[in-house]
């Protein structure tokens, strides 16, 4: 299981063993990482699971699909080049040690 660290805007850091195939949104919300809301349950419909991925994560991720890009245009906080939706990221072994940072607001 890859070890992935979530750092919230207030600095609070949580490292989780995320089962492969789980989305980062699922791992975060089930484990009480507050900076991710995941209101739509991972359907790429709400944009409340916005996160900023680090270089390690970016390297192993495929480019976002059109639906995710459209949602990213409407995230509540600043959109950056490394912005992604956590529900669209499925954990894989290659992500071990990666860090994602969370925006100050999701809504």
């Amino acid at each position: 299981m890859p070890n992935i660290t979530f750092i919230e805007a207030n600095g609070q850091s949580t490292t989780l063993d995320v089962p492969e195939g789980w989305s980062l949104m699922q791992a975060a919300t089930a484990n009480g990482v507050e900076g991710i809301l995941g209101e739509c349950g991972g359907s790429c419909a709400c944009a409340t699971c916005h996160c900023y991925v680090d270089d390690l994560m970016a390297k192993v991720l495929a480019a976002p699909a059109q639906g995710e890009l459209d949602m990213l245009e409407n995230v509540a906080d600043e959109r950056r080049p490394n912005s992604r939706l956590a529900c669209q990221i499925k954990a894989s072994a290659a992500m071990d040690g990666a860090t994602v940072r969370l925006p100050a607001t999701q809504e």
Partner: protein, 421 residues
Amino acid sequence: MSAAVEGHIVIIGAGQAGTQTAEALRSGGYTGAITMLGDEPHGPYHRPPLSKAWLAGEMGEAQLVMRAPEMLAKKGITLRTGVTVEAIDRAAQKVKLAGGEALAYTGLVLATGSTPRSLPLPGIGAPNVLPLRSKDDASAIAARLTTCAERSLPVLVIGGGFIGLEVAATARKKGLAVTVLEAAPRLLGRVLAPLLSDWYAALHREHGVNLVLDARIASIETDAAGEAIAVLMTDGSRHPCGLVVLGVGVAANDQLAAAAGLACDRGIVVDDCTRTADPLIVAAGDCTARQLADGSLLRLESVQNATEQGKSAAAALLGQPRPFTATPWFWSDQYDRKLQMAGLSGGADAWAVRGDMGGDMAAGAAFSIYHFRAGKLIAVDSVNSAKDHLQARKLLDAGVSPTPEQAADGGFDLGTLIPKG
């Protein structure tokens, strides 16, 4: 009510709205006790995937979890599952649980959700005629789908609403034969514009669903063991089946509130801040009927409604009323098409289509339908067009309207109409 900073807030229902309310109470500064009571054996989980990715076998059991019970505990939220509330005693400020226990409250949240409707049909009680509301319902349907696959038996879906159509799409993805029986002349008739109903009918037929509109069901035929083996129609036709999924709508769980003397009208009547007439009691989610400014009642069954009302419910109990006035939105996934709806399209008298509805379903059409009433934009339904959807929410929130011509003109940037800042 004075801010219940000390005290005991009891939440009946451990679903989307109940969980949101509990968390919003904490983030809103409430430091008293919170108890969330749920009659299901599970802690809070996501319902939307039940008819979609979860039923398709694309996600595991654990991934449905909305909040792990330990995480709620960390926030000082006491979750009690498998507990049914049987009555509310408003005079004594207590809820009575099955088994006799009574819990005193200083604030009460009704987040009891809704229950699938049934149909008065002979044979409806067969064990393989199943509704889909809870995780346990979905597990039962999943097991029956496996049996249908093994024995090459068709799946019958009664009701061409969102749940029924999502189940149909999921069962088709698994290669099962599927028939959908819809009593109305078109699919999703209450919520979609006619041309989008027709588009969805074509989509399902394209994917091999046997779609019967204007369907008149006479009875469900059962075998010696009591299992449903076919659905019989009034015209004498017969649809064999190994499973019947009932998707004919839901009714609000407002019985507790009604018995406690709170106003109910197809749901617990609340204002836009989720307040009932009792200052200690708020209600949120599928169980409510929200009174609008013009006196009419609005019933919504959606995740957004449950989360927004949950936030309002917490705020109301803390004495900081937070009206929920945002544009309603909803989504539905069927096959590889995501429908996203913004606004309420009831009473529309004109429509405009933006994008390409595509004669060829397989070609991945992306388009939106703009609903107008008396020249004003009231709702937008988008298919695989998240961009239009999000923009629509902004247009509707701001109360600005394109003309139907502008909406239909893909070259016109509707974003320019949204007020800046």
